[in-house]
Symmetry: C2
Subunit: 204 residues, 2 copies
């Protein structure tokens, strides 16, 4: 691996972790200038309190996202779906600080409690900043926030609380740039020793 | 959200982050007793050095995984594919410390440099522990390691370094228990302002 050219290596190593989440983080500064950027590193940290994290790299155009989060302490996370995954990818271009990616990509900006979100997104939520944890090993940071409000149509929520994000046509990412739709194999029951698994039927 | 019953809330919040990676982490203790457990929180941290993280929860049967990693400092991460996703899910049952999940689930154990891996997995790699970062907000930990060796058939590696994990039938997880195969929409070119995106063709 050490002999791989840098871009080759980035694509190779990025493929190893498996499929990743595709989300847009929408923010604004104190003057109301909006920003939206795609992230594939959103990770569930816990349900109670409802915590979600993502990785901030030092060397990307996504720096405006973190500046805004530090300034306003709030942001929204917006799942990316098939209908606008190309616009979502385009947010990764290095636009000037004066240009909102909303204007540049055709994504539409809405507001909840004065926090911007992506109107096209079928599942989005408001997050309040809790902590920024430095990762000195590679000069990245994990940004951790608490989920306070969720916007999602009720028809895709199963009776047991599971949200059918496939029905929302949420996409998934592999590597740096490959986008995929999904096809459910099954939901599996809670695993116990000596008891065979069974499939969980839909109960929407 | 505060009024949601605990299990309902867990399923609901776990659905919000989007699609997740499906990986088995294989470990052993100093006596050679093996363990394998499924994780959906593997996250790419950086390509140079090649760092990968995952979240350890305090309240699960996965504790043996962390004990072994601390003891031996090494582990393998094994992508889960369609052919064995049910066996992979079954590893989350709370087996006794004396039972190896390999024996209990029918997953086959191989070794590379004396570190166990899952033979059924089409893409797996050896990881050396670098750091365990506590997340006091919810008493979890992020375990960070460096990738040292990758086992993968060369035919699925594109000329630019991207690994076609869809061709390996790697699965993705939504929520706590839903498994999905994938269908590529496209690979998209590196985004630049004012230049339209194009699709990247396969070059295997």
């Amino acid at each position: 691996m050490k002999q791989m050219p840098s871009r080759y290596r980035a694509r190779f190593i990025n493929s190893l972790s498996g499929f990743k989440s595709a989300n847009l983080i929408a923010t604004q500064d104190n003057q109301g200038n909006t920003n939206v950027a795609i992230f594939s590193s959103i990770v569930h940290l816990g349900a109670s309190p409802a915590l979600v994290g993502f990785i901030m790299r030092p060397d990307t155009g996504q720096r405006h996202t973190l500046d805004n989060i530090i300034e306003t302490q709030t942001y929204t996370i917006n799942q990316v779906s098939e209908a606008f995954y190309q616009q979502a990818h385009q947010t990764s271009a290095r636009y000037s600080i004066d240009d909102s990616e909303f204007d540049m990509t055709g994504l539409e900006c809405g507001y909840i409690d004065n926090v911007p979100f992506v109107k096209q997104s079928n599942l989005k939520y408001v997050v309040k900043l809790k902590e920024i944890m430095p990762i000195p090993l590679n000069n990245t940071q994990m940004v951790i926030g608490e989920i306070t409000d969720v916007l999602c149509e009720e028809s895709v929520i199963e009776k047991d609380g599971y949200i059918d994000i496939e029905a929302l046509q949420t996409v998934t990412i592999s590597g740096l740039d490959s986008y995929h739709s999904s096809q459910r194999l099954s939901r599996l029951s809670y695993a116990k020793p000596d008891i065979p698994l069974h499939e969980i039927e839909s109960s929407k």
